[in-house]
């Protein structure tokens, strides 16, 4: 079977672009969750936004993105405040506080969806979980030449445009506030004594994660968002000891997972003689997991094999030294 350029550009290219942008944006902001040891926050925020999405939809009465986005951001902000409140008033560790808040809020969202469904409103929790990467179509291109045609680019699906905007926003904020994000993550107490509002940056990170997650949901679903917030940064951390390198590397690994996962899902079964393509979001999440596993095994200093080799060298050196003494 051959794939025409037009078919690829209309069906696969926009979906791939959406996946790449979503993975890159999630991977970039995910670094600060992983470094703050708040990986669970991605899970919490991406579930806690559900009641906000439903409320936005019910209040506005349309499937427009804007009201749902606003509702989701409001819910994310509320969840951030609630988590902090539960942690302090309930005197719980932050993981437990997140667990309580996001399950309660997600449950509230599910109840709201059920109520809406009873009134004949069509809203599906599944599309939040799994996304609808396969439905993102770019109908403008007619061949490779369309890639150079601004009019064709202007017809790019809204999901892709939103994700591109969010990715640019994430990069801009991380570049602008690199110092402040670093110090408030590493040593919030020192940051406060220098006059840098560490608490504000905490909520800022939560909100940026929320905005990224919300933009990515529609395209790739919350499962992939959660995987992408954690796996590429965690893999990058195993490959370097420099923060700047880690940030760039995590984005590269996110892109790699998106391309490899999408390729495997869309074209793998065809190559193997199968009929149906696989879930792209699912395969991308699997690819990110594989990348993390490979980094954990083969990472130069932090990988299992690297540590083994270092131990072996130490033992070798010890044996040589012992021989030197005995002779």
């Amino acid at each position: 079977m051959t794939l025409s350029a037009q078919e690829f550009l209309q069906i696969d290219f926009p979906a791939l672009l959406a996946a790449v942008l979503a993975c890159a944006a999630c991977a970039l902001v995910g670094n600060f969750l992983v470094l703050r040891r708040q990986g669970m926050m991605g899970d919490a925020v991406s579930h806690a936004v559900l009641p906000g999405i439903v409320a936005g939809f019910l209040i506005a009465g349309t499937r427009e993105t804007m009201p749902m986005m606003v509702g989701a951001l409001a819910a994310a902000a509320l969840s951030g405040v609630l988590i902090e409140a539960v942690r302090r008033l309930g005197r719980l560790e932050s993981g437990a506080a997140m667990g309580v808040v996001f399950t309660v809020m997600f449950a509230a969202g599910v109840v709201m969806i059920e109520q809406a469904a009873a009134r004949g409103v069509d809203l599906d929790a599944d599309c939040v979980l799994y996304g609808q990467l396969e439905t993102i179509l770019w109908l403008a291109p007619t061949g490779w030449g369309s890639l150079l045609d601004p009019a064709a680019w202007a017809a790019m699906p809204r999901e892709v445009v939103t994700l591109a905007a969010v990715f640019v926003l994430c990069v801009a904020l991380v570049v602008l506030f690199r110092k402040e994000l670093t110090i408030t993550t590493f040593d919030p107490a020192l940051a406060s004594t220098l006059g840098i509002p560490a608490g504000l940056f905490h909520y800022g990170v939560v909100l940026l994660v929320a905005a990224t997650a919300i933009a990515a949901f529609e395209a790739v679903g919350s499962i992939l968002v959660i995987a992408m917030l954690i796996a590429p940064p965690a893999a990058a951390r195993l490959l370097t000891d420099r923060l700047g390198v880690q940030l760039v590397l995590s984005v590269a690994l996110g892109v790699l997972a998106a391309v490899a996962g999408y390729g495997a899902a869309a074209f793998g079964p065809l190559l193997l003689g199968g009929e149906h393509s696989l879930s792209a979001a699912g395969m991308i999440a699997v690819a990110s997991g594989l990348i993390l596993a490979l980094a954990a095994l083969f990472g130069p200093t932090h990988g299992v094999l690297g540590r083994r080799r270092a131990l072996g060298r130490l033992r070798g050196a010890g044996a040589v030294a012992a021989e030197g003494r005995s002779s």
Partner: protein, 268 residues
């Protein structure tokens, strides 16, 4: 035996009003509570201008909390903190801070130089990258603690003592007038102890004021000029020779702390 290495005259500085401008630190009626339990109770203290001051007391006496309250890191139930005559929030640039080593994640992917450069962030300000001049200042601070050779090393690969020296270098890079240090001598090797002590003496010689939480009673008199004895309340403060007496130490460490009334307005 007490070894006083400062010039004898300096101990006659009056405690309250310094001849050279307002006191580096002036704490009035400071009360701090964690979950309704008072940790600091009506603390009044004025630090002398210049010199090394040890904050001494048993575990749970609120020594670290005093430092954090002075820095504005924990909410106060009542009281005021002034640094060189102004509220602490206005004087951040004059203050350097060395937190306890355990307070941060040493697995963080930054080098020793990166951490020391953080001490310059207050001078660099928003949106600007760490310039060459600031990196050089950070490197110079690392040299002063004997850690220049480790500038590029990821902080997790340093020993505990080396990590403590990195924290100290970061405070030096802040170029402050008043330093708060939370147990800079805790659990360090002999080389680090000497390095920390040398830095304290250099700061003192340069006219800076250093307030250290210190846990080793045996070295208080050797390392410090002044001492603040506390156990939730201030027990006594003043020059080491006059204050570090068995009687006052007994009152600081002996027996149970007094049961204290609880104010309902305790901050969370």
């Amino acid at each position: 035996m007490q070894y006083l290495w400062r010039t004898p005259g300096s101990h006659t500085l009056p405690e309250e009003a310094s001849p050279i401008g307002p006191a580096p630190l002036s704490v009035r009626d400071l009360t701090v509570a964690y979950h309704r339990k008072p940790v600091l109770w009506n603390v009044d203290y004025t630090a002398p201008n210049g010199g090394l001051i040890a904050v001494v007391g048993p575990n749970g006496a609120g020594k670290s909390t005093l430092i954090k309250a002075c820095l504005g890191l924990v909410p106060r139930v009542s009281g005021t903190v002034e640094v060189f005559g102004q509220p602490v929030a206005k004087q951040r640039r004059l203050i350097g801070y060395v937190p306890q080593r355990e307070s941060v994640d040493w697995d963080f992917p930054v080098s020793a130089l990166d951490v020391v450069a953080m001490g310059r962030y207050g001078k660099i300000g928003w949106f600007r990258p760490v310039s060459r001049a600031h990196k050089e200042a950070a490197l110079h601070a690392l040299e002063r603690v004997g850690m220049a050779d480790f500038a590029r090393r990821q902080i997790g690969q340093l020993s505990g003592g080396q990590q403590q020296r990195v924290f100290l270098a970061r405070a030096l890079a802040q170029e402050a007038q008043l330093y708060f240090m939370d147990e800079p001598f805790a659990g360090v090797d002999a080389a680090t102890e000497r390095a920390v002590l040398q830095v304290l003496r250099d700061l003192d010689a340069a006219g800076r004021t250093v307030i250290c939480v210190h846990h080793d009673l045996q070295t208080v008199a050797e390392y410090f000029d002044h001492v603040l004895l506390m156990n939730t309340r201030v027990v006594a403060h003043g020059p080491v020779a006059r204050t570090l007496t068995p009687e006052l130490l007994g009152r600081t460490y002996g027996g149970q702390p007094l049961p204290l009334p609880v104010r309902e307005t305790a901050a969370p």
